[in-house]
Symmetry: C2
């Protein structure tokens, strides 16, 4: 039940010493999501022992080279390795030209289908789901059409406390309702009381219905984990609402605040703005990256962001961030 | 007057741990030739402190991804860095589609022109020259249309030994002939003898002309250096003639001899075949690379090649091979 983010690249458009352009892999319970695919992504995956074959979904935020130029190499490698599994690519409409070119020049002999899911929403929309995981995409504010992503575990079915089942003699229908997260409501005059030790029950006989609140009778077995990816983007008012409460937020931080004029001009964010988004969204943890090549030392970004939002992590090539599964009973 | 080969990548098609796909930079007297441009080439150049701005000529041997997929990133970076200088790309005809796609999707705002020189020869032909350096291209034998390259210093003008000038009282025309590499021939009956100490000269008065051989009166100030790049290719009979006598030969060596059936099938060479080409061509030194990802330890290639051709170097990421300038008088 792992939920691990692997950072393949942290550079912005221009190459910097020992940095790779944007690419990340989120491993949710063994299913891999590749999020952006800058040049060198496949080499970085190899270095981090991430198996290409387990990638079923690729998210391309926007059609700028530093988020994309590793894709042709990866697709070629998948083909040479004999992949047959269907591959989803979630990307803006402009990606269709990229895919068409790739397939026409380099797609010969490829044994797997690539499906381009065109992103074109104005607010968060579900674009993919499995039984236990789902992905949403939402627009960002960059120089060209750009999208962010939320990948999250679905809310698990509630478990019902055994003592409530026996105390109230819950029926299967009532248990199913509790598992769905609903309260149990028994109409007035029905069997509303808890079971007695002798096997008999109280009958209230009053005109009041009995309510068994879900919050008392049921509990979620674990807290669903969630990851949001926001790159590239300028800050905008809706963003912190859209990523509210995620466990892990990746927010680009191309410049420090001292270069906020550059950030405005290029539709990027500063480290402070990334941290403000994390704070306003009430996320558990922030990861920043996409550093301008002007800065060989990235500590300036950490210092600035963590002064606003202390739980900030500096993305770095090769870094793996594991989000542990919190099982009930929760510590807080 | 440097002549340095920098190895950016040694992998063949599939990525291997810590290997990059094919790319090399040849620095001839400060002018950089990028030869093939596999994914990650620009990061490797950055790591080796090779300035993008000094690349004026890019050679693409063939349109397979592992020789090409770093090009889009490099061209984008050149554009972002404000390049205005003309860029030559020498590549087969199929490259025109690649360039057209790149320019249509990512070329906006680029301030420099890219000229595609279409390679289509059947034997070595000069494709570029400056005052002192020239480049030839020639066909290789691979699964698709593929070309090799020779980059070499031109033969320098001969210097004339001062003692010959004074001894024979050489005229300006005679000196110019010697500098062009010609012999001086004085017809019978003319002033053919060496000067005497008293300023007079012998007159032979015979019917024999006097020949002053170029090989005695003149010398080349340095040995011109040359580099040949042969990747990807199966062995073929003309190749060693075409690269005869180069100072440094890069020849692909995808497989060891034990996998020669694989080499035949994929139109590649074995380490032994690379070494045989070097031996038959009488080159000074061989560099092998383009190793199959099956082999994490490349010593097997070196062992095999050097048993046939001892002056063999294993290409490795980050390796720089400097060819020293041999000035007259030559040691051998």
């Amino acid at each position: 039940m792992n939920f691990d983010l692997s950072i393949l690249g942290t550079a912005s458009a221009l190459p910097a010493m020992n940095r790779y352009p944007s690419a990340q892999v989120l491993d949710v319970r063994g299913r891999l999501f590749l999020i952006d695919c800058g040049e060198g992504a496949q080499m970085q995956m190899r270095r981090m022992s991430i198996p290409y074959a387990r990638i079923d979904n690729i998210c391309i935020s926007h059609i700028h080279g530093d988020h994309l130029f590793g894709l042709f190499g990866l697709l070629s490698t998948m083909s040479m390795l004999g992949r047959t599994a269907h591959l989803n690519i979630f990307a803006p409409a402009a990606f269709s030209k990229v895919l068409k070119f790739y397939l026409s020049m380099f797609g010969e002999g490829s044994g797997f289908e690539i499906e381009h899911h065109v992103l074109a929403m104005k607010s968060p929309e579900k674009v993919w789901e499995s039984k236990s995981v789902e992905m949403l995409a939402f627009p960002l504010d960059h120089r060209i059409e750009t999208y962010g992503f939320i990948i999250r575990e679905k809310m698990p079915a509630f478990n019902v406390h055994k003592e409530y089942i026996s105390r109230y003699g819950l029926t299967l229908a009532e248990i199913a309702a509790l598992k769905r997260g609903e309260d149990v409501v028994r109409p007035a005059g029905e069997d509303t009381g808890p079971s007695l030790a002798n096997g008999f029950r109280h009958f209230s006989g009053t005109s009041e219905p009995l309510v068994i609140p879900n919050s008392e009778a049921a509990y979620i077995p674990y807290r669903p984990r969630s990851y949001a990816y926001c790159s590239d983007t300028a800050p905008f008012p809706e963003l912190h609402e859209w990523v509210r409460g995620v466990t892990l937020l990746y927010h680009e931080s191309t410049f420090p605040d001292a270069l906020s004029d550059m950030a405005v001009k290029t539709h990027h964010s500063t480290a402070r703005q990334a941290a403000e988004c994390a704070r306003d969204a009430g996320v558990s943890r922030l990861v920043i990256g996409h550093y301008s090549s002007r800065f060989s030392d990235t500590r300036i970004f950490l210092k600035e962001a963590s002064s606003v939002f202390p739980d900030t992590i500096l993305a770095a090539e090769g870094l793996k961030i594991s989000v542990p599964l919190e099982k009930w009973p929760f510590s807080k």
